[in-house]
């Protein structure tokens, strides 16, 4: 049997649907017969929602952080633009970083790759 004290202790995680199922069942059982704990649950859910909404209204991370992370993690090629043609195996490949910053280009000559340019976005 679960009492109000124990139910209260676990309620925030019950509200979040984050309890192991055996504990969740015990609380659900308790709630059926306990109006005080049902009121507590309603209050926690309301507060959790408002807390989340408040936090999400605060200004978040800027694009600058992503750019710095990219620059420090190999200049990840996310979008690839093929610009060359296959005449004599010559092709130019420009790798464009996923959020719009060109990172590097490669010249392919008869299947051999020659780096053309590379720069970091900060």
């Amino acid at each position: 049997m679960m009492d109000c004290i124990r139910a209260n202790e676990l309620m925030p995680w019950y509200a979040n649907n984050n309890l192991p199922s055996e504990e969740a069942w015990l609380i659900a059982d308790h709630l059926v017969n306990c109006p005080a704990c049902r009121e507590e649950l309603r209050w926690i859910i309301r507060m959790a929602r408002e807390h989340q909404a408040d936090l999400e209204q605060m200004p978040g991370l800027t694009e600058r952080t992503w750019n710095k992370v990219v620059a420090r993690t190999r200049g990840l090629p996310v979008v690839q633009v093929n610009m060359g043609h296959s005449l004599l195996g010559l092709s130019l490949r420009v790798l464009v970083e996923g959020r719009g910053i060109p990172m590097r280009g490669d010249l392919f000559l008869l299947g051999y790759r020659a780096p053309l340019f590379a720069f970091e976005a900060v």
């Binding site: 202790e9 979040n16 807390h51 408040d54 605060m58 991370l61 992503w66």
Partner: protein, 168 residues
Amino acid sequence: MPEDNFLLSEIAKGDPDAFSELYDRFAERVFRYALTLLRDRQLAEEVAQETMVCVWQGAGKFSGRSQVSTWIFGIARKQAHNLLRQETKCKRLFPEATTLPDPADVVESKYQVLGAVEALPPEQREIVFLTFYAGLPYREIANLLDVPEGTVKSRMYYAKRKLAEMLR
């Protein structure tokens, strides 16, 4: 939508798309977690940056014993504490200096709940964030903070009581 675990295993193989996806899922939450701990926007951005770089470099070391989110928040926590130590040494950080509004002023404003959470002691504030915003089970929080599960529950219990006094 791919699972976090799957993304992490792809990142360990060097997949940039997987990293981009994981960044979108976590960077913002890491930033807000750091902001909760440090109350300084610039430092919180630094923590977010360092954490995501660590995720890229250390994805292969994830053991799978915890949720991916717990692992990432754990990295962020370590980064935040390192920064805090450095900053305290340099005396650049004022522990209560903040980008968030003063709790006393916000109780009447639209950020009522956030203002009340801000007024809690740091260790209670952290539990509230990890439970309500990050959505972690209490076992994962205990794991992350390296404290007994009972400590997590009692910190939340007292946090709830104070919030009720301020908000109800």
